[in-house]
């Protein structure tokens, strides 16, 4: 799959933003007034910034409101609803903390649940696709939820929670990669099943439909980014999970916390790049590619 920067930015930032909103909704840390304002401003900048970035890849962003209509079948539509619901609930809850110094706990819990539901809906946009065997697994929503919760804990200064959740997310990340490397093969979709010619013999793409490239090849057959996959995996694991854990084990300081967050963000961005670049869409088989 083509690793479009807009989608990588969107899933990385809004995952982190909604993760922070989850912890804030639980009242962790228990902040009010200006401190609460800063926490909520960061969470909204990440969550809303990510959502806005996602509209950049739309052909007609001016029609985006229509995306609220098909929640019965479409995870993208469900994501639109859950994200708006989470942002409204958390805005009201945040207003209580910032302006009235009161914690409306039930509203906070609701906002926290909706924030997680948003991350789940986003992950199911990918996790539902049979056409991309690497994504089609319950591990996809599990991993994206774990990353969101761990990153959120890191931003919310929940050091104990982050020290537990970051290693869990790292293990899920490795499991997701290991499973993913055999996913296309295990899916049973091959050039033979794609063309229905397997009963005659081994199928080889002889000539593509056009001498030039096309939308399908640009969007679905991205092989360049896979060249450095192993190096990027090491970078993602090191920066995204290992370094933040090491930094959190040091005596706490704001500079160290900022470093841990930046390392985590860079590592998750690398992991998200691989999420797309390594994903094989079965349509590539028609072109003899994967």
């Amino acid at each position: 799959m083509h690793p479009a920067p807009s989608v990588i930015i969107f899933t990385t930032l809004s995952g982190l933003g909604f993760g922070l909103l989850f912890w804030l909704g639980l009242g962790l840390p228990p902040v009010t007034g200006w401190v609460a304002f800063v926490f909520f401003a960061i969470a909204y900048a990440l969550a809303v910034g990510g959502l806005l970035a996602s509209t950049f890849h739309l052909g007609h962003p001016e029609r985006a409101l229509k995306a609220f209509t098909q929640w019965r079948t479409s995870w993208l539509s469900r994501e639109a609803w859950t994200s708006v619901a989470a942002l409204i609930a958390m805005a009201l809850y945040g207003a209580g903390l910032v302006f009235f110094g009161t914690q409306w706990s039930v509203l906070g819990w609701l906002g926290a649940a909706l924030s997680l539901l948003t991350v789940y809906s986003t992950s199911m946009i990918y996790g539902q696709l049979k056409t991309v065997p690497r994504w089609r697994t319950p591990l996809t929503p599990t991993l994206l939820l774990a990353i969101s919760l761990a990153g959120g804990a890191l931003l919310a200064g929940q050091i104990t929670a982050a020290l537990i959740l970051l290693p869990i997310a790292a293990v899920l990340q490795v499991l997701w990669w290991v499973r993913g490397d055999n996913a296309l093969r295990d899916s049973g979709t091959t050039m033979e099943s794609a063309t229905g010619l397997g009963h005659i013999g081994r199928v080889r793409a002889f000539e593509p439909p056009h001498t030039g490239t096309n939308y399908l090849l640009r969007e679905f057959v991205h092989v360049v980014g896979r060249k450095h996959a192993i190096k990027l995996r090491v970078i993602a694991l090191g920066l995204g999970y290992a370094l933040p854990v090491l930094l959190l084990l040091l005596p706490f300081g704001h500079l160290i916390a900022v470093l841990a967050i930046l390392a985590h963000l860079a590592g998750i961005a690398a992991s998200r790049w691989l999420f797309f670049a390594e994903a094989e869409h079965v349509v590539g088989l028609y072109y003899g590619k994967r």
Binding site: Q128, T195, G212
Partner: protein, 255 residues
């Protein structure tokens, strides 16, 4: 509405004969022509005369080489367009309801004024049947020439999808695959019509007729008797070189 209909009154679709297709790409050209001038946004090209041309097509013809365990490889031309699946994954993922499957005839269509161009339907399609038009920013796909097949302004013989009407080899057939008595259904039954990527669970309406077995005249044993009056004339003229070439062959062998 992106909920798929429980069942459709008809299952209009194509039957494509891989035995007959000669790979001329006439269907590609006629499809591009008709669908650029008629229903919906035109199928644009980007730098068509430049160094890196590309464009939107609803129908593309691949060519595959198939190598059996024994015998010669076969070359098979393979036209591919929307298969109008019964369980169309492209429809259910659409967030706006722009994509839908018609209850009356099963055709999968895009309402272009509702399409936000998110591309998710193209991600969900295993066949590469949907392409986002780079100029219009909306999703394009085969309409089964819905503006031809019901069009009473056209002579009756033209009320077929453009690709079917134009195919010079008769490799493309159009009809109701939900009616077991229809010509297309009988063709599928007779020739063992198949689904592409059945494991994806899309239940495609379009069927492909597999290539017939190739003849095996080149390795029929001599004991099988003559198979044609001309057969003796087809025997190799000289199995062992004679005369000057024979002498040269032997001389060079000895060197």
């Amino acid at each position: 509405m992106t909920q798929l209909p429980e069942r459709t009154e008809k299952k209009l679709g194509l039957v494509i004969d891989l035995d007959t297709c000669v790979g001329c790409h006439a269907c590609v050209v006629s499809c591009k022509g008709w669908n650029t001038e008629n229903y919906g946004a035109p199928l644009s090209d980007q730098s068509p005369y430049g160094a890196d041309p590309s464009g939107t097509f609803l129908n593309r013809v691949h060519s595959y080489e198939v190598q059996p365990d024994q015998g010669a490889a076969q070359l098979i031309h393979f036209p591919k367009s929307c298969l109008h699946c019964e369980d169309a994954p492209c429809v259910t993922v659409c967030p706006t309801g722009a994509s839908y499957k018609r209850t009356e005839d099963g055709i999968v269509l895009v309402n272009e004024t509702d399409c936000i161009g998110c591309g998710l339907c193209a991600w969900a399609c295993p066949y590469g049947a949907r392409e986002l038009d780079a100029a219009e920013g909306v999703m394009k796909k085969c309409t089964l020439c819905v503006d031809r097949i019901y069009n009473e302004n056209l002579p009756e013989e033209d009320r077929l999808p453009a690709c079917v009407r134009t195919c010079p080899a008769g490799a493309r057939h159009f009809g109701d695959l939900g009616d077991p008595g229809s010509e297309v259904s009988q063709l599928v039954a007779e020739r063992g019509g198949m689904d592409l990527m059945p494991e994806q669970g899309t239940k495609p309406v379009n069927k492909y007729l597999p290539p017939r077995p190739k003849d095996e005249m080149d390795h029929i044993p001599a004991t099988a008797g003559e198979i044609d009056v001309l057969a003796p004339l087809l025997k190799p003229v000289a199995e062992e070189p004679k005369g000057f070439i024979g002498w040269l062959d032997k001389a060079l062998e000895k060197l």
